[in-house]
């Protein structure tokens, strides 16, 4: 269904809701559905840069399942390193 069709379906029940209000709720529903069901998976790839520690993630990523470095799976650090930096 297109966004237009979704809005028309909702307006059969709530004709007074504006398109903007409906769109806000649809976006909340979409994020909740994807986060809870984990139905959409993706592979995000980037290159490391020498001496750079932090790399921004796309805002569409809601959960990281696994990370590979040079095609080898690497572990998630438990806790935080003693020395941190704030370059992100």
């Amino acid at each position: 269904m297109t966004q237009q069709q979704l809005i028309e379906t909702i307006k059969q029940h709530h004709p007074n809701l504006s398109d903007t209000q409906i769109r806000i709720h649809l976006n909340t529903a979409m994020r909740e559905f994807c986060r809870k069901t984990r139905v959409l998976e993706t592979l995000y790839t980037f290159q490391t840069v020498a001496e750079k520690r932090y790399y921004n993630l796309p805002s569409t990523i809601v959960e990281i399942k696994r990370v590979d470095y040079d095609n080898y799976q690497i572990p998630r650090l438990v806790g935080q390193p003693e020395k941190i930096d704030t370059d992100v």
């Binding site: 559905f33 069901t37 998976e41 020498a50 650090l77």
Partner: protein, 131 residues
Amino acid sequence: MSSNERTSALKKVYWIERNAIAIAQKSSSDASTDYVSVTEVKTVNVHAVKTDEKFVASGSGISMDESSIIPEEFHEGLTYYVIAKGYELKPETLQASVFWRSLWKEQISEGKTYANKQQDGSSYHIKQHDF
């Protein structure tokens, strides 16, 4: 791939902080506690769960005549959430809100089942171990 590359890669760790992913390696001076930034250019693959783009009136996102990339059988389910929200606005329609909210929860449940099924129809299972 050489064993050196393997050894080097397996010294790396990651963690998530402030919406960013940190990649670091154990320091050669104190491998137990200290981590330093990597010094080489390598590929990092992040296997992740994502959400779709946002619905928008115009600009970047799902436009009025486009559809979400979630499986088509769940498209109508998104409307259940919004319909329930609409009925929550008036005290006299709260009962209707509960009904539509239950349909929404059902969609979430079916979505989890869908995501757990592989393309061949097999389900996710936990491998057992002897201790």
